[in-house]
Amino acid sequence: MTGHTPPFLTIAEASRLIATKRLSPVELVKELLARIETKDPQLNAFLLVTERHALAAARAAERAVMAGRHTPLLGIPVAYKDIYETAGVRTTAQSRILADNVPKQDAETVRRLHAAGAVMLGKLATHEFAIGGPAFDLPWPPARNPWDTRRFTGGSSSGSGAAVAAWLALGALGSDTGGSIRLPAAYCGIAGMKPTPGLVSRRGVIPLAPSLDTAGPMAWTAQDCAILLDALAGHDPADPASVPGPQISYAAAIAAPLRGLRVGLLRRFYEHDVPASPEMLQMMSRAAATLRSLGCRVEDATLPSVQEYNAVGRVIISSESYALHEATLKQRLSDYSRVFRVRVLAGALIRAADYIAAQRRRTDLIAAAAKTFERFDVLVTAPTAGTPPLLTEQRPDDGFARPLLTTVANVAAVPSMVVCGGFTPAGLPLGVEIMGPAWSDATVLRVGHHFEQAMGTRRRRPEL
């Protein structure tokens, strides 16, 4: 196998080279470990680099390749948000509370990726317990955006977004309760997929709000997300929410052209509910034109307001996250970050009747989305109002004060992904969000894949 590693390979490209023995998994891992060592001090994407594990797994992958085995993820270096349990490897949720937590078992998703031949490079930064925001009063600094290190990565899968964008890992796992995969995907200019709830097991993923939590892949392209999802999807009887999803290959399904697809543009979302910046509005116009040029029928679509979805989502997240942390909060309050306390303690004051009202209202909002999907195959919106804000602009109560466009898909229980739609003149990425009805994950990925290719955004990488 050759020792030369071409720069910025995607999972699909690396997989092809490894399968044809033109790329050594060991050399690829060494290249990325060296890159992590030199670039990550600017980004803080990694909480822990598992170099020894990575090299051992890469050597095993190389032996498997030489023995004639091939799977799409064999020898592919990935990393996990530090809420994914990893056997024998510290899993902290970026919190003092779990600073010494060493799980005995892998999360089901981690087990699946390892069984498919993926190589773990390490554990990635998150907001504490996947909620809150960038915190400066924890033992680990917050991750920084590779496109401009003064800026926020989005969260809570902050390290996953930064690591993939900076080519410190070819793929990553994130989790999404109100947008935590898709916001970093948007701000870091990568692809991130929140699958239909139940498609990917959450066993061994430290929960935030179990009614809304979803585990999913993050990668440079929609195609790479599809390759990861092929390994991740599948019924897990040990996760009560897991269900047997469609028995399909997502990576194969994305190739079908988009001609005739019915696309609903949620224009009111980003023009009125969460007014977008002029740059984002321009990009969304280009996105609609691009989808038309791909043969889609694009029309305006409506859903209940972003504020309605957010009110329900925030009440559920606050109530459930407080319930999960109550005992620890009462014993070790000062060990949590301030931003975590601000966002979670309010859950202590929410009445049971209001929590139930939120759950009941959610059923209406799910039904409203399902009704809209009778007319459309996918819905498209901006995932954020604009470019990533400065880290210093983040307020502890942002999660309540500013509604998130991404939370709509969590409350509506539908698959949703963000892909890069373009860049501002200052070189900051702008995302596009694509949602589909439940179990249309393949269609969502397919739209993301063709859209990315048509927009030509995958040739540009952050300069570090």
Binding site: R268, V306, Q307, V312, R338, A346, L349, D354
Partner: protein, 118 residues
């Protein structure tokens, strides 16, 4: 709920907050209380904006997935047959002879049907 991003933020007095905190069993320092007031006002605004009115007969949002009845029957422990009294060989023959006509009697039929229906 109006679509405006500007959310009305209710106010809360220090006494009301102290009452909520003591009911929740939380002991916070003044800085932490100030942070919580900031967050709670936002959450209270979200709760107030949420639609609460629903018909009483509406389903609750929670779903419990119980195993279907058929699998419950399969997983039931087998019924242990009642212990038979020990009888001498001669008495056993007599008892069988007496029991035989009963099996053919009309009274036995409904019991058989009932067993099939289980």
């Amino acid at each position: 709920m109006p679509a405006s991003p500007a959310m009305s933020v209710p106010i809360i007095s220090p006494g009301e907050m102290q009452l909520l905190l003591s009911r929740a069993g939380l002991v916070l320092n003044p800085g932490q209380v100030a942070d919580l007031v900031l967050a709670w006002r936002q959450v209270a605004g979200l709760i107030a904006a949420m639609q609460h009115d629903r018909p009483l007969a509406d389903d609750m949002a929670y779903v419990f997935r119980l195993p279907p009845p058929a699998s419950a029957v399969v997983s039931m422990p087998p019924v242990r047959p009642a212990a038979k009294p020990k009888v001498k060989a001669k008495a056993k023959v007599k008892a069988k002879a007496k029991a035989a006509p009963k099996r053919r009697s009309a009274k036995a039929a409904p019991r058989k049907t009932a067993r099939r229906g289980r």
